[in-house]
Amino acid sequence: MNTQPIVDPLGDEPVTEQFRPVPRPATLEGLRLGVLDNGKPNAAHVVATAGAGLRRRFGVAEVMPAGKAVASRPAPDEVLTGFRGFDAAIVGVGD
């Protein structure tokens, strides 16, 4: 089969700085858990239910709701800042 060189159409690989996760807690007992309602229908219910289950079964001290109105826009700065006060967090993607 005859071939010819062609230019790759995919562009440069991203130069994203690798995120460094903090060490995980040894237990969930007594922790503050942030749960993000991303604005999708029922998202608040899903993360609140998951948070309630974690409190009941694993002793999470407080489930702290956070939210943004529209899933297709980034969370406002004040919401992101609020996440700094949580020990762990759950966010969602879906529909």
């Binding site: 230019v7 440069d12 991203p14 969930l28 826009r73």
Partner: protein
């Protein structure tokens, strides 16, 4: 950690990678979450609580090591036979399903040369994969789409516009909504490069319109990694996702979009995150208010995002409809003001579930309105973009937008 419905897992992974942590722990739930009674979800959610706890406590995984795999091959050895090339491209995950021109080094070099730019210049990261849109890669996609070299400055302008934050390309390319960036070409570049602003401007038959729109789509799909059914989560998509490009008539009797948007002497493009066009058939109205009544009714449609996410809508007036309005003393501002006033949806048509959601997302409108009230489609007259295009005939079109987006205009720079 992330909770994700199963079909959205590829998108979740792409977003995590975007943030530099591809190994972000994910628990999946059955799809869908929306459109169901909240209590019906509890069993599934409580069923993954143990898994969530385990991932919250597990040592953070080392991120996916992409060292050594981040260098892309600059050149591929591809078959010269057209059918074999299509097979090859398909195997790479390239293409929109239509035939592609092989981006040979010679064709791409000519395309790069026509931009007057350094081939290694990176126009910016294209979401969701955030690969960099180098001029060389954009040119390769334009060649694949069938662009002639002279069209490259328009493609470059469209890519620059697509990457402006106001357009919200991340949202446009990953949503379930049937949206895609509409490229409106305006100013001197329309006639000079042979764009069609006349009959069938939104349709087939003109190489400039067809290939510039297609080039942008291939950039989003190849460089951005907006893969249908994976990271591009569109429920149905839109025919405009093959190509969505039109041009403004220079003989517009209303203030042109080019003037309104401050386009430069070499022409410009305006990108609008739009749905498909919705027809306004009006053969009967002989005066401005009558015609605007029909347009307002077409704009006031409950299923579109503008109802609750707001932002802009686009009105593409035919020359004959524009002439009717001008003959009755209307100009662009008064058209927009009239439609802001009269394009309203009846709240009684909105379901209780949607109304609760709309009140939460757009309280400035929905909190104060009574259950039998009317809600304007536009927050301000300035949120209506007006352009005159198309050929003879008594049809105009309305293009609702994604809502979480704003139009962006970028000048075409030709050396």
């Amino acid at each position: 950690m992330l909770v994700c419905t199963k079909p959205f897992l590829p998108l979740a992974t792409a977003i995590a990678r975007q943030e530099g942590y591809e190994a972000l722990p994910v628990v999946t739930l059955p799809h869908p979450i929306g459109g169901r009674e909240p209590g019906d979800l509890d069993e599934a959610v409580l069923g993954v609580v143990d898994g969530i706890a385990a991932l919250l406590l597990a040592d953070p995984a080392s991120d996916v090591d992409r060292a050594g795999s981040t260098e892309r091959t600059a050149l591929h050895d591809a078959p010269t036979d057209p059918s074999a090339f299509l097979e090859f491209a398909g195997a790479q995950g390239w293409g929109d399903g239509l035939p592609l021109i092989p981006p040979t080094a010679g064709l791409v070099d000519a395309a790069v040369l026509a931009t007057g730019l350094d081939p290694d210049l990176d126009l910016g990261p294209v979401p969701p994969d955030h690969r960099g849109a180098t001029v060389r890669a954009v040119a390769a996609n334009a060649v694949m789409a069938g662009c002639t070299p002279v069209l490259l400055p328009v493609v470059i302008a469209a890519v620059r516009a697509a990457l402006q934050p106001e357009l919200n390309l991340q949202g446009l390319t990953t949503t379930t909504h049937p949206v895609t960036p509409l490229v409106i070409v305006h100013g001197s570049v329309v006639d000079e490069l042979g764009f069609n602003a006349g009959p069938n401007t939104l349709g087939q038959g003109n190489r400039a319109n067809a290939t510039v729109g297609r080039a942008l789509r291939l950039v989003l799909q190849h460089i951005g990694g907006a893969r249908p059914g994976e990271t591009d989560r569109a429920t149905h998509g839109s025919p405009g996702k093959y190509s969505y490009c039109m041009a403004e008539r220079a003989d517009s009797p209303l203030e042109t979009l080019h003037t309104r948007r401050g386009g430069g002497p070499g022409g410009a493009v305006t990108l609008v995150g739009g749905e498909g066009p919705h027809n306004v058939n009006d053969h009967g109205s002989t005066d401005g208010p009558g015609l605007l009544r029909n347009i307002a009714g077409t704009m006031a449609t409950l299923g579109c995002n503008n109802v609750y996410l707001r932002s802009e809508m686009l009105l593409v007036l035919s020359p004959e409809h524009a002439a009717t309005l001008v003959a009755d003393g209307f100009d662009r501002e008064s058209v927009a003001a009239h439609l802001h006033e009269h394009a309203r949806v009846d709240v009684r048509g909105i379901s209780a579930g949607n109304l609760e959601r709309f009140r939460r997302i757009s309280p400035h409108l929905f909190d104060a309105v009574p259950d039998d009230g009317l809600v304007p489609m536009l927050d301000r007259p300035e949120d209506l973009l007006v352009v005159v295009a198309g050929g003879p005939g008594k049809h105009s079109v309305v293009v609702p937008t994604f809502g979480a987006t704003r139009a962006v205009t970028v000048d075409v720079e030709r050396s």
